[in-house]
């Protein structure tokens, strides 16, 4: 590469912002593991295998590069941010791990296109490979990682973020391959068109591409992001790991943490055994997504009941005894009763014993634009969105 990105120093950047020590945290190998576990619970069965991102982030730390996570409130309004992610076929990513210089190339081109320097980054989503990638990128470039994301869960398409539904476009998107071929897609507000084009570029690049997207200011990030979603994932991961060490019930621990620490009402809504999985095949029907339905037979206190789940990469709709209990963008997680490990839609099999929990989506996800972009009708379900608290009869605010 002839044109070089100059690696920054995250401590120098936050020093220039003049923030205090209580406003940032140093991310180490264990933190990365905890964040990845917590993010995968929030990923609601999707996001894919985080392994490549986790290895990359740990390797960045092994090379003595610093990863620093900063609270969103304290970042200056006028700074420029952008995030980086991978987009394309998960199977290709397992065969083609990232090239080291990719993120530098992305940010170099983004800065050139915007004609201003980027001072911080953030993960686009919680869950899957893009969650730890957000931290690996921060470490490689020397940029602070902001405690925020665009959905507080995982979703499959570029436009499915609170940024986009609240007026911050996904583009310009910088999309590159390992040879640093580069396309910049600038579509204004047409986020869905941008998603289609960027996905096609990924195919031409050999199945995956590395993208920089959602360039925005500090002010825009604070107004449109899901704030503190990273520390939520981190604490959730810590909670589960601690429950494992103490042999506590991890599901109880998760719900207790959400409620007492974050004021998020979540509920354990079913315990069951997978009786049937009906997967859709053929790219004409699935458009490359993992789609299908799972039927569960109730066990323990749910004996005699049954549950039914629809999935498209993520768990989307849960019904118990024929009644709808959770709709997107509210969140469903299927967890191993003993370990609390989240079970992904691409891995679930007949015979698995799972506990199902439901949680409300962040308020920024529930705007009319949000429901239009990732509510039940967008995924083809002929039903209006009703918040999960109402469906379950639990109150969010007392």
């Amino acid at each position: 590469m002839t044109r070089e990105y100059e690696k920054k120093d995250p401590y120098k950047i936050i020093d220039e912002w003049g923030i205090s020590e209580s406003d940032y945290q140093v991310i180490d190998g264990r933190a990365i593991e905890e964040i990845t576990l917590g993010a995968n619970i929030l990923a609601t069965g999707g996001g894919g295998d985080p392994e490549i991102g986790l290895k990359w982030a740990k390797n960045v730390l092994d090379e003595d590069k610093d990863i620093v996570m900063v609270q969103p409130e304290v970042i200056p309004d006028e700074i420029q941010l952008a995030c980086a992610a991978t987009l394309g076929a998960p199977i290709v990513l397992t065969e083609k791990p990232p090239a080291k210089e990719n993120t530098k190339k992305i940010f170099y081109e983004m800065e050139r296109y915007l004609d201003r320097p980027i001072e911080a980054t953030f993960p686009i989503e919680c869950g899957g490979v893009n969650s730890p990638i957000g931290y690996a990128v921060g470490g490689e470039l020397g940029l602070p990682v902001i405690d925020v994301d665009g959905m507080n869960r995982a979703f499959p398409e570029l436009q499915m973020t609170t940024f986009a539904t609240q007026g911050v476009p996904a583009t310009p998107v910088v999309t590159i391959d390992d040879h640093h071929h580069c396309c910049v897609v600038d579509m204004g507000e047409k986020n869905k068109v941008a998603e289609d084009i960027v996905r096609n570029i990924a195919m031409k690049y050999g199945g995956i591409s590395w993208i920089g997207c959602y360039p925005m200011t500090g002010k825009e990030l604070k107004e449109t992001g899901v704030l503190h979603s990273q520390s939520l994932a981190w604490n959730l991961g810590k909670t589960v790991m601690e429950a494992r060490r103490k042999h506590d019930d991890p599901i109880e621990s998760i719900l207790e943490f959400l409620k007492s620490d974050r004021g998020i009402p979540g509920a354990h809504i079913f315990t069951g055994k997978v009786m049937d999985i009906d997967r859709d095949f053929g790219s004409e029907t699935t458009h490359g997504f993992s789609m299908g339905r799972v039927t569960l037979e109730g066990i323990e206190e749910y004996e005699g009941q049954d549950a039914y789940l629809e999935f498209q990469n993520e768990w989307l709709v849960a019904k118990i005894d024929g009644e709808i209990k959770c709709l997107p963008p509210d969140m469903i997680a299927l967890l191993d009763p003993e370990t609390g490990e989240p079970i992904r839609t691409d891995l679930i099999r007949y015979g698995y014993r799972v506990k199902m929990i439901a949680m409300p989506a962040h308020k920024n996800m529930r705007t009319p634009e949000g429901i239009e972009t990732f509510g039940p009708r967008y995924f083809g379900f002929d039903v209006d969105y009703t918040p999960v608290e109402k469906l379950l009869g639990i109150d969010k605010d007392e």
Partner: protein, 539 residues
């Protein structure tokens, strides 16, 4: 050489015991259990000697010896006697963010020479077979020369080599030109499938145990020679098939988890049932496996070996902490907890039915009358104080019995692919103390000689081979592509010591590449055949 009228020996090395059987056709002539020795080899040779002594069979009447061994597993776990590996990855610019050996335990990394023998080279392919980069042959040559004094073997991994292997093969040629014809080289595309980092790990581990396997085979062959045994030596692989010893030294990684595979083959030997669940109950744990057409079902998960994630094929197996020695916690009135602790090797000091203080699964079996006679193969009685087991309160016995039953039922059920009832085969030293009736089982079998099932399974010398092909069905006839892959598999079965003319197709998998334009798919064929020697020469 013919096996007609010849005896076969099967040997199964376990953690505690090395089992051996001597069979003629499907008759068990002699069986033995000897202590596994720390070098494994001595215990293996003991078994051969004891079988010959017990049966009085003459060494020249032995036609075949098959060994299911833990030499390679132990070497990796103990980090002992490993080869120094030259690690070559063909991928640049792809993959530089995660170099080879990322995430490996430090001591294992050191044992095989560490990071200094790693070379990342421009090369590799995309999914459609187009190169990522042209192979930099000069750089390969230079790096191989630099490493050659420090390494014993090489492992070569190229991006998408399971789709297109030309570059890996070319690198093997270069290594031979630079270092010599005899240097062992592992090509990742021959070891496992898509997922670069796990395939690379598999290839590196394979390359690290080549000498271990070579030494083991040489020692056993020497022992056979000194006893005038002229039999063929075969090695059990973890898919349940066997491979000629000389071929096994190229792919020692496939002996990992060959023990459970041998048990599944043994269950087939003993019951002739080819589809169902196998419940192998030991002293501290129970392995539950699944057989499909007489072979172990393959796991879809990554396999952890010595702290390293690999994607080698391995039997789909669930291990639960439940064995004869597993401790039942009681409050004097009812059974509270089943395991996971175990009295392990101290059953005869600690268990109630031997006069000890602890209530174990073994004692519950005795109290239930499930175990009432000594197993001839163990030199010890099943209980020295059966009355102490009988004195355990009935409530505790029944509750514990139910816990044991439910634990096994749950695991069997989790291994199933649909709710149909299936046959269950109980084997292993602890199988005589657990229940025989399970929910979800159409019938439970507990065949005679089941305590040496693994060794018996090893005597079923069936040879298998695989072939993989990636085709685009938009410009290729599907049936023609499948037929071509079958032919490739038959060529491979001959290399492994099997008869290509008797090859039977076991499995054809077609995996479409989703998220991809076109109709590209991967075809994978598995065939099996008989040992070629059986036909040659006739009677």
């Amino acid at each position: 050489m013919s096996l007609q009228g010849k005896y076969r020996i099967g040997i199964d090395v376990g953690g505690t015991f090395t089992d051996g059987v001597l069979v003629l056709d499907d008759e068990v002539v002699a069986k033995t259990k000897d202590r596994t020795t720390s070098d494994v080899t001595t215990g293996t040779i003991d078994v051969i000697d004891h079988l010959l002594e017990k049966s009085g069979v003459k060494p020249e009447s032995i036609g075949l010896i098959t060994l299911s061994t833990t030499h390679t597993t132990n070497a990796i776990i103990e980090r002992k006697g490993l080869d120094k590996v030259g690690i070559i990855r063909l991928a640049l610019p792809t993959g530089s963010a995660i170099p080879p050996l990322t995430g490996w335990p430090e001591d294992l990394k050191e044992a095989l020479g560490g990071k200094k023998n790693v070379a990342m080279i421009p090369g590799g392919y995309n999914y459609n077979g187009e190169p990522i980069s042209e192979l930099d042959e000069e750089l390969v040559r230079e790096k191989v020369r630099d490493m050659s004094d420090n390494v014993d073997t090489f492992a070569v991994t190229g991006v998408f080599s399971p789709v297109r292997s030309d570059q890996e093969i070319r690198v093997a040629e270069i290594i031979k030109e630079e270092v010599g014809e005899d240097v062992p080289i592992t090509l990742s595309g021959e070891i496992s499938t898509i997922s670069l980092l796990e395939r690379e790990n598999s290839a590196i581990l394979n390359a690290s145990v080549i000498s271990v396997m070579n030494r083991a085979i040489k020692a056993i062959k020497d022992a056979m020679e000194s006893r005038d045994i002229e039999a063929e030596l075969f090695i059990m692989q973890n898919d349940g098939s066997v491979i000629k010893a000389d071929q096994a030294t190229d792919y020692p990684i496939f002996t990992l988890a060959s023990g459970p595979a041998a048990s599944i083959r043994g269950a087939v030997f003993l019951t002739n049932i080819k589809n169902g669940a196998l419940v192998d109950v030991g002293g501290t744990s129970t392995d539950i496996g699944y057989m499909v057409d007489g072979f172990p079902r393959e796991s879809m998960m990554t396999v952890d070996i010595g702290g390293v994630k690999t994607n080698i094929r391995a039997p789909d197996l669930t291990s639960i902490p439940l064995g004869g020695g597993t401790i039942i916690t009681t409050d004097g009135e009812s059974a509270k907890k089943l395991g996971p602790e175990s009295v392990a090797l101290d059953l005869q000091q600690l268990a109630k039915s031997y006069g000890g203080p602890m209530t174990t699964v073994h004692d519950i079996g005795v109290a239930k009358g499930r175990l009432h006679e000594d197993l001839a193969i163990f030199s010890t009685p099943y209980a020295t104080h059966p009355e102490k087991a009988k004195n355990i309160p009935k409530k505790i016995v029944d509750e514990a019995w139910n816990m044991i039953k439910e634990r096994i039922e749950k695991t069997i059920d989790e291994m199933k692919t649909d709710p149909e009832d299936i046959p269950v085969i109980l084997v292993g030293g602890g199988s005589t103390v657990v229940p025989k009736k399970f929910k979800g089982a159409s019938k439970t079998y507990q065949p005679e000689h089941s305590e040496v099932a693994g060794a018996l399974g090893a005597t079923l010398a069936e040879i298998a081979a695989y072939a993989e092909n990636v085709v685009d069905l938009e410009n290729r006839d599907r049936q023609e592509a499948i037929d071509e892959t079958i032919e490739m598999a038959k060529e491979n079965v001959e290399k492994n010591g099997g008869d290509p003319e008797k090859a039977v197709v076991l499995d054809i998998q077609e995996v479409p590449f989703s998220y991809m334009p076109g109709k590209r798919e991967k075809i994978r064929v598995k065939v099996k055949s008989e040992f070629k020697g059986i036909r040659e020469g006739g009677d």
